[in-house]
């Protein structure tokens, strides 16, 4: 169980999150929605223990994140960051295998079990025949799926994802959401910062809405993702897009 209590976050002199209480239980799939600059990334980083909050605490199983060792946290919490240097020289398989670092870091023996698991993850994300390809030659969307494969290979019970759907086409967006949904059904905790309320409504059990000036509200997706709430969140009028709007079935 990952719990934030009285969490306060600010960046560049702006208050992003004020006194947020959030507890992420196993088996739940959370979406995190908000306008650009609302504080989604800061919240993901704070929950992952990569940024110290300005106020409040984040605790894993009742123990503050800072009291866990980095190695221990890496086996429990996996985080997909929004940006990453694309400066990796090896193959796609080599890249995904870095996700094994928390569990197997021998420089000598080949990690066959890890390689098999990595191929399985690649296949799950539609990259089955790409394992030997040079990572840098992947397209943006393929790279994003390789990054998610690496995250899944880490095999943590809590997955925090900052915009997992960026660069993905419609079909792969749905595929990633279904994969994350399966992780949650299997008992993992999943929280994803999204810009796609449609996907959130279909796949996520709960939603956190981050408004401007530190306000947040959270609850079941069905209660949270209403037209009125989304209009207030994105500060624009919404209407049904009619026949032009589709989500993969």
């Amino acid at each position: 169980m990952l719990e934030a209590a009285g969490l306060g976050l600010s960046a560049g002199g702006r208050e992003l999150v004020r006194a947020l209480d959030l507890s992420l239980a196993p088996g739940a799939f959370w979406s995190l929605l908000g306008r650009n600059g609302a504080g989604k990334t800061s919240l993901v980083l704070a929950l992952a223990g990569l940024r110290s909050p300005q106020a409040g605490t984040v605790a894993l199983d009742g123990v503050a994140l800072a009291a866990h060792s980095r190695g221990e946290l890496a086996r429990r919490i996996a985080v997909l960051l929004q940006d990453e240097e694309p400066d990796f020289w090896g193959s796609v398989l080599d890249y995904v295998m870095l996700g094994r670092y928390p569990r197997s870091r021998s420089a000598w023996s080949r990690d066959e079990e890890g390689a098999a698991a990595a191929r399985h993850r690649l296949a799950e994300l539609d990259l089955a025949d790409r394992d030997a390809q040079t990572y840098r030659t992947l397209s943006g969307g393929e790279r994003q799926r390789a990054r998610i494969a690496q995250l899944l290979l880490q095999d943590a019970d809590i997955l925090l994802l900052d915009e997992p759907l960026q660069h993905l086409d419609l079909n792969h967006q749905a595929q990633v959401m279904r994969t994350l949904s399966r992780c949650a059904s299997g008992g993992k905790t999943v929280l994803a910062a999204l810009h796609e309320p449609g996907h959130a409504a279909r796949h996520c059990d709960f939603a956190v809405l981050l408004y401007d000036a530190g306000r947040a509200s959270l609850g079941r997706s069905s209660d949270m993702l209403t037209q009125a709430n989304l209009e207030a969140l994105y500060q624009c009028r919404l209407e049904a897009a009619g026949t032009g709007s589709f989500l993969p079935s």
């Binding site: 990569l50 985080v79 960051l81 670092y101 040079t134």
Partner: protein
């Protein structure tokens, strides 16, 4: 994939053998074999064991240290242009050495002055770049570059003030020169220690390529790793510069040669960089000793002459 490591490792004994076989005095194969087994002609034995072997090992140690430092700095600073000179250590050592030459102190004093200059530079980079807000690659890079140009100005000043008889010796030191190198044992020990320590961190360095936050989230103690790798690179650079002066290009080019040949995991990249850097410098130094014998060329000129075309060729093939 496997042929590159095998070739690089095989190059080590081959380059050392060539360095011992060739020199300004011609020794026949039989004479060489006898001398290597401590038999026969005493002069041949002295040439092989007293002159050429230490010189070959000094070149190997120097090249290995520089290439290892370059490989570490390139991943630490996330900059393909990083090389040992960027730490300002070479510049500091050069300023110290030239000051000692100007004052006319002996070889021991010169080494001490170079060590002092290198330590001042390394200490300054450490102090400025590991400030209270933590490690910042840009600050390290710019601190090193600023120090290097400061020392460069100092070196220029001393060159223009020096009596013309001393200028040639100074230029050799600046271009990198192994002829005064006496005892390679300290550098070899430093090379072994730095390579072992860096190798022990190789899996973590692989992860560090993903960025500091991602590496942290995968369980890497990033600050500790950076301190270890930076310390290793600094120590290796100081040891190399004290032995051979400012030999350029090995530290920059050798890791890239390996990466462009498909070696990217640090578990292989770091030891192979040390092997390839050492072999290349041993070969370059053999050429420097023999090409215009009895005169010697500065080895740094040859490393650049070999390294530039090879790197350009490999870059041309890069997809």
């Amino acid at each position: 994939m496997k042929t590159v490591p095998v070739l690089v490792v095989a190059l080590v004994p081959a380059s050392l053998a060539l360095a011992i076989a060739f020199g300004s005095v011609d020794l026949g194969p039989a004479q060489l074999a006898d001398a290597l087994l401590f038999r026969g002609d005493e002069i041949a034995r002295e040439i092989v064991w007293g002159v050429r072997a230490p010189r070959a090992l000094a070149a190997f140690a120097c090249g290995g240290l520089l290439a290892l430092a370059g490989a570490l700095l390139q991943v630490l600073l996330r900059n393909p242009l990083a090389d040992p000179a960027i730490l300002g250590v070479s510049g500091g050592a050069a300023a110290g050495a030239l000051a000692a030459m100007l004052l006319g102190v002996g070889a021991a004093g010169l080494n001490l002055a170079a060590l002092a200059g290198a330590s001042i530079a390394a200490g300054a980079v450490f102090a400025f770049s590991l400030g209270r807000s933590g490690w910042n690659p840009y600050r390290v890079l710019l601190t090193g570059v600023a120090l290097a140009s400061g020392f460069g100005a100092l070196v220029g000043l001393m060159l223009s003030l020096a009596p013309s008889a001393q200028v040639q010796g100074m230029l050799f030191w600046l271009l990198g020169d192994l002829s005064p190198a006496a005892d390679p044992s300290v550098a070899l020990v430093v090379l072994a220690a730095c390579a072992a320590l860096a190798f022990s961190q190789s899996a973590a360095l692989d992860v560090l390529i993903l960025g500091e936050d991602k590496a942290r989230s995968l369980g890497v103690a990033v600050a500790r790793l950076q301190a270890i790798a930076f310390g290793c690179a600094t120590l290796a650079t100081v040891a190399a510069v004290l032995l051979g002066g400012s030999i350029g290009f090995v530290g920059l080019v050798v890791p890239h040669l390996l990466r462009l040949s498909g070696i990217h995991r640090h578990g292989a990249l770091l030891p192979l960089s040390a092997c390839l850097g050492g072999s290349l410098l041993a070969l370059a130094d053999t050429l420097a000793r023999t090409a215009a014998a009895p005169a010697e060329l500065p080895v740094g000129v040859l490393t650049a002459a070999i390294g530039v075309p090879v790197l350009l060729f490999l870059l041309g093939r890069l997809r």
